[in-house]
C-alpha cells in the first residue's frame, strides 16, 4: 500500500498514469455534460413558481457545491504538502485555488443572473449564501495572491497551504456569522420563495449535474497537475523523453 502511494506521488509515475487516464476522463466528462444539459434544459419540467428561470440552478448549485468542495480538497492537499513535503500536493494546492476561485465566481455570476428575475435585483444583501460565496472568493484570491508573491513556487505553495488550512477553520465560522448577521438585519423587503427542485423530476438532473461537475474538476485538476509537472521537471531525463514524444 505504502509502496503504491510513493509510486503515485513520484512525478514521473503520476505523469504516466494521468496521461493514460485523461483521454477517457475527458470523453466521459463531455458525454456526461451533454446528457446533463439535455436533462436539465429539456426533459425536466418547468417550475410552477419560477417558470423556466429556475433552470439556472442546474449550473448555479453545482458551482456553489464545488466552490466549497474544492476548498476542502485544497486544504487537504495543503496538509499533505506541509506534513510530507509531497511535490504533487504543493502543485495541487495552487491548481485547486485557481479552479476553486473560478467555481466561486461562477456561483456568484449565475446567482446574480438568477436573482435579477426573481428578486428584481442583481445583488441581495439579505441573502446569506451569496454573501458567503463572495467572502469565499476573497479567501481564494488571498491564497492565490500569497502563492504568487513568492518567487520560489515550492515555498509559495507551502505558505499558501498554511493560509488554506486557516481558511478551512474559518469558513464554518464565517458562514455562521453571516447567517447570524442576516437574521439580525432581516428586513421585510426580502422576498422568500420556496426552494425549487423539490420534486424528484427536478432533483435528479441536479444531482447528475453535480456529479458531472465533480468529474470535470477531477479531470481538469489531473490535466493541470500533469502540465505543471512537465514544466517543473523539464530538466529531468524522463521529461525530455516525453517532450520528444
Amino acid at each position: 500500500m505504502f509502496h503504491r502511494f510513493t509510486a503515485l506521488s513520484s512525478p514521473r509515475h503520476f505523469y504516466a498514469i494521468a496521461s493514460a487516464w485523461l483521454p477517457w476522463l475527458s470523453v466521459l466528462t463531455a458525454l456526461g455534460f451533454a446528457v446533463g444539459l439535455y436533462w436539465g434544459l429539456v426533459v425536466a419540467p418547468p417550475d410552477y413558481q419560477q417558470g423556466e428561470a429556475y433552470r439556472i440552478i442546474y449550473v448555479h448549485v453545482p458551482s456553489a457545491w464545488l466552490s466549497l468542495m474544492v476548498y476542502t480538497v485544497m486544504a487537504g492537499a495543503g496538509l499533505v504538502a506541509l506534513v510530507w513535503h509531497v511535490k504533487l500536493a504543493e502543485i495541487a494546492v495552487y491548481e485547486c485555488a485557481v479552479l476553486g476561485a473560478w467555481f466561486t465566481a461562477l456561483a456568484l455570476g449565475t446567482g446574480m443572473l438568477w436573482g435579477k428575475p426573481m428578486w428584481g435585483t442583481w445583488w441581495q444583501w439579505g441573502d446569506a449564501r451569496m454573501l458567503s460565496e463572495l467572502i469565499l472568493l476573497f479567501l481564494y484570491i488571498g491564497v492565490l495572491g500569497l502563492h504568487n508573491a513568492f518567487a520560489d513556487s515550492r515555498k509559495g505553495a507551502r505558505v499558501a497551504a498554511v493560509l488554506a488550512l486557516a481558511g478551512i477553520v474559518n469558513i464554518p465560522i464565517i458562514h455562521y456569522s453571516v447567517e447570524w448577521w442576516n437574521t439580525l438585519h432581516q428586513g421585510a423587503t426580502v422576498t422568500r420563495f420556496d426552494k425549487p427542485a423539490a420534486h424528484s423530476s427536478m432533483l435528479w438532473p441536479l444531482l447528475f449535474m453535480g456529479t458531472m461537475f465533480i468529474l470535470y474538476f477531477s479531470t481538469v485538476l489531473l490535466a493541470r497537475i500533469r502540465v505543471r509537472i512537465l514544466e517543473q521537471e523539464a530538466d529531468r531525463q524522463w521529461a525530455e523523453e516525453v517532450r520528444r514524444g
Binding site: L82, F138, L139, A149, R158, V162, L163, A166, W180, L184
Partner: protein
C-alpha cells in the same frame, strides 16, 4: 525551561514595546482621525451618526489593528530571532503564544481604553459604552492574532502590506459582525450577551489555534 522561555519572550516584547512607545500611539491617532473623518463626510446629523456609530467604531478599530501588524516579525527576522526560536528546542507554538499574548495586550489595551471615549464623542451613551468596551476586549485580541498569522505568512516579502490586508480582512469578518452586532443591540436596547458570548468563543478558539498556525507559518518561512 518552558515557563522561563515563555516569560523571557513575553518580557522582551513588553520591553521592546516600551522602548518604542511613541510608535504605539500611532494606531490610536489613526483611530481618532478616522472617527473624525466620518462625521465630516456624513454631516453632523446625530441621529444618523448614532445609527452607524457602532459599525464605524468597530471598522475603524479593526483597521487600526491591521495597521499595527505589518512589522510584527520583521525585527525578529532581521536579528535572526525567529531562526533562534526554531532551533531553540522549545516548542515554537509555545513561544508564539507568549509573543501573541504580549502583542495582543500591547495593541488592544490602548484601543479598548480609547474606544468608549470616541463612542461618547459620537453620541453613544450609557450601556452601549460598556458593551463596546467588553466587545473590544474580547474581539481585539482575536484580530491581533489573525493579523499576526498574516504577518507571519507575508514575512520577508518586499511589499507585504497590501497582501497582508487582502488575506487578513476576509478572516476578520466574523469578529466584526459579532462585535458591531453587540454594540448595535445595546444601542437598540436589546440584550447583547448573545453576541458577546460568541465573541468569547472566538477568543477561546483564537488562543488555542493561533499559536499553532503562526508557528507553522514561521517554520515554513525559515525553510
Amino acid at each position: 525551561m518552558m515557563g522561563r522561555a515563555f516569560a523571557a519572550v513575553f518580557r522582551r516584547e513588553l520591553r521592546l514595546a516600551w522602548r518604542r512607545r511613541g510608535q504605539l500611539l500611532q494606531p490610536l491617532v489613526f483611530y481618532a482621525l478616522v472617527m473624525l473623518l466620518f462625521p465630516l463626510g456624513a454631516g453632523a446629523d446625530l441621529a444618523l451618526l448614532g445609527q452607524v456609530a457602532p459599525s464605524l467604531l468597530w471598522v475603524a478599530a479593526l483597521l487600526a489593528v491591521l495597521l499595527a501588524q505589518g512589522t510584527l516579525f520583521s525585527a525578529d527576522l532581521e536579528e535572526g530571532g525567529i531562526e533562534l526560536w526554531v532551533t531553540s528546542g522549545v516548542s515554537l507554538g509555545w513561544l508564539a503564544l507568549a509573543k501573541l499574548i504580549a502583542h495582543a495586550m500591547i495593541v488592544s489595551l490602548p484601543l479598548i481604553l480609547v474606544g468608549p471615549v470616541l463612542a461618547g464623542w459620537l453620541g453613544l451613551r450609557g450601556e452601549a459604552l460598556w458593551v463596546l468596551a467588553v466587545s473590544m476586549a474580547l474581539g481585539m485580541p482575536v484580530l491581533c492574532w489573525i493579523g499576526a498569522l498574516g504577518a507571519a505568512l507575508t514575512l520577508g516579502l518586499p511589499r507585504g502590506g497590501i497582501l497582508l490586508a487582502l488575506i487578513v480582512l476576509p478572516l476578520y469578518i466574523p469578529v466584526l459582525m459579532f462585535g458591531a452586532g453587540a454594540v448595535h443591540a445595546a444601542v437598540d436596547g436589546r440584550p447583547a450577551d448573545g453576541a458577546l458570548l460568541l465573541l468569547a468563543g472566538l477568543l477561546f478558539l483564537g488562543v488555542s489555534l493561533a499559536p499553532i498556525a503562526t508557528a507553522a507559518a514561521l517554520r515554513v518561512s525559515q525553510e
